[in-house]
Symmetry: C2
Subunit: 483 residues, 2 copies
Amino acid sequence: MFTYSELLTADQVERIHQASLHILAEVGLLVRNERARQIFARHGCWVDEETHLVRFPIGVVEEFRQMFPSKFIFRGRDERFDKVLPDDSPVIVTASSAPNIIDPVTGQERRATSEDIARIAYLVNELPGYDVFSVSTLAEDAPPGYFTLARLYPALKNCLKPVRSTATDLEDARRVLQLGELIAGDEKTYAQRPFITHHFCPVVSPLTMDVASTELTIFFAEKGLPVYPSIVPNGGLTAPMTMSGTLVQGNAEFLAAAVLMQMVRPQTPLIYSTLPTIADMRTGAYASGGVECGMLHMAFAQMARFYGVPCGGYIGLSNSKVNDAQAGYETGISCTAALLGGAHMLNMGGLLDALKAFDYAKAVIDDEIAQMLKRIRRGMEFNEENLALDVIAEVKPGGNFMTHKHTVKWMRKVALMPRIADREPREVWEKRGALDAFQRAKQRAAEVLSKPTPVSFPPEIEARIRSVFPEMVHGEVIPVEGW
Amino acid sequence: MFTYSELLTADQVERIHQASLHILAEVGLLVRNERARQIFARHGCWVDEETHLVRFPIGVVEEFRQMFPSKFIFRGRDERFDKVLPDDSPVIVTASSAPNIIDPVTGQERRATSEDIARIAYLVNELPGYDVFSVSTLAEDAPPGYFTLARLYPALKNCLKPVRSTATDLEDARRVLQLGELIAGDEKTYAQRPFITHHFCPVVSPLTMDVASTELTIFFAEKGLPVYPSIVPNGGLTAPMTMSGTLVQGNAEFLAAAVLMQMVRPQTPLIYSTLPTIADMRTGAYASGGVECGMLHMAFAQMARFYGVPCGGYIGLSNSKVNDAQAGYETGISCTAALLGGAHMLNMGGLLDALKAFDYAKAVIDDEIAQMLKRIRRGMEFNEENLALDVIAEVKPGGNFMTHKHTVKWMRKVALMPRIADREPREVWEKRGALDAFQRAKQRAAEVLSKPTPVSFPPEIEARIRSVFPEMVHGEVIPVEGW
């Protein structure tokens, strides 16, 4: 392990907390969802039913934030893949909900479909760096009424790791739960191990709670099912231009959502999840690849530690359109900063062009980056055998360690053995086709997807699902022709 | 600023120190340089003149390590570019001494020449992320006797920033100094502002002091000229396979070199500089792009803080042969880890294929990475104006910050405005030629080098140099034909 790198002093953390309380008490929150207003009113907030502005007495926020649990569990269809935050951190999650995919054959961007999701789900199942599959893309081929199901079904079918889903409205949310229950066997069995984690953005910056996502956050919190919100302030547009201003507003927004969840059901587990950015004001561009995102994650992690909740969120989302050096360093720098700053969960895998397009090669490259982050987290093994003082004495000044039995014993355990990074001499690399990391990663994705997928649903589950959802997409992993 | 992320506990740091003392006292150092053996003997070390093994009483090391100064100054030809470690950290230095260059026209690797160095020097002069120019390549066209001068002269001529040099032997070192004095005007003027920083690797791992580099380290330390050593343990081959073992051996090697410098001249400034790696034991490859390098830098930084000396070294040296995603994430991850771990100096710019080839585009990309690291170092501005509580109140829930005067005031000051990272929508990026980061970086290098260089030597200095070194290379920045 490691100690965290911190951008803020303890006094500054306290100041951010106090200033956030001040914002919630004085400026307030615009709450468009009626049930949320009722819940807030019932628990002592000042609600203006004309303006829909809700203001939070400091004592109310302080009371409910004491209830935040310190852990959050992601459950998989297979419990061996369960992950507990913060214990298993860094928990690596794919970045999600891109409308498009870079077609692996044409190299062109196009709308993504449920068939793409099936392939991506299986790829994520097989890549060791990923812990949670947050469905990477939308599904353009979704039948009417299947907007969410056509994404979630192929995801669950082809990935045993925890899957994160969203939903569009209450009706949709009920279908999502029904799918989970059909897979588990019945409602009770599902409730014992809910393997779908729900995620919403109930707060729209600045300081506004929307109707649908808020409703759904309440819905799942009420049922005691795993759900957490992400806060998405964009400095210069939906938050102050300054980093401290973006932090304090984002923190107030987190507190509002988190307090609502505790009011709905005390001790509801949550994650202090964010997607903070500072806009590129030359053009107004969404700068999710900027180094400021890594810094903001470091600062938000400090706030999360102050509240005693697990944290993380979207990070390392490159603005690059291709798998070039930019895509590499933007993801690498921000993710490393977030990790060493104390983020427990990183939604970092597979997307290019900010959140617009999924790319197979990017998913494979990010898997390697994820493994590098996990290598850092493992830290330096430190004991007398690792110190190797006797080995140093035996090898002697001027000697060679290569053939020492200590080397042989440890050679496969110490360093990460990357599959994408190439370390051959140039001549060897050229002889093998002079492929760059993008091409090697694309090959690796093709390799994984060319094998039959052992992960699927047994026929009886398949039959149950189809009897309830007759128009469900097939969700099979079909080889890509011409790849 | 930020607090450092630490891999080791305080007890482990103390243990590494004690174990290093033990290594130096019991295992000892093979010292091939006779003068070094004499100096060690004179200051209380046990020297075996038959085996050339030197062992260090613990009290001797403890006495001399108290003399390590806490600062190191890099001076430039123009004093406005002077950098003080650790105050001005991160000090970004180019990585150096590659035999080859990727030709910007053919894209092929070839031997580098003094003409390449002239161009690189000017590029480094112009790129804002770099603080020190450590001469990037060798010069194949060096006339006999000009091996070092043919590199150093074009470097000094075209770069006002501090320049780091090496030397092959005493004769060569005297020529290097002579060049500095000819530029300064005379010996005394040069001694007041020595703008060449000398660098050597006197310790060859494991635990061996060589003849030439050790001689030169002594030579410059005696004269009170800026010189520092780098320690280069390679776990699995020249150091134990384990990270803690590589750390403890490297630390003993640093102490040996640093103590020698203090014996030569008490309070000689130095840098705890390292290039630590763990070999890829699948092939024995030199894995300078591995995440373990970043981790070792974090650990060495902790040792440097224990000794109160500035630290850093070679980091983020990608194993990639091209400017692909691998080159991006290897440099990005390790440099960020080293920075947040407390490294003050990063030799990170411009090389591909470990240390084998310089590439113009890589130098430009690394300049952007350097600026990102410096943005992290600047930290989060934190005061009442930055917190922007009044702005948040004025914009109100649901409002927009874009046109607020606070946004206008801060929009150019908060975020780094990258030149290489592309943040345009895909359509715009395509319309502009769909260039990747490598191509954009190459264009930027070409742009810088297409302008006349105002940095050079006045005719009288040029004449002085040529009268003493008649066969000196021309050192002019000549536009590359066909670029």
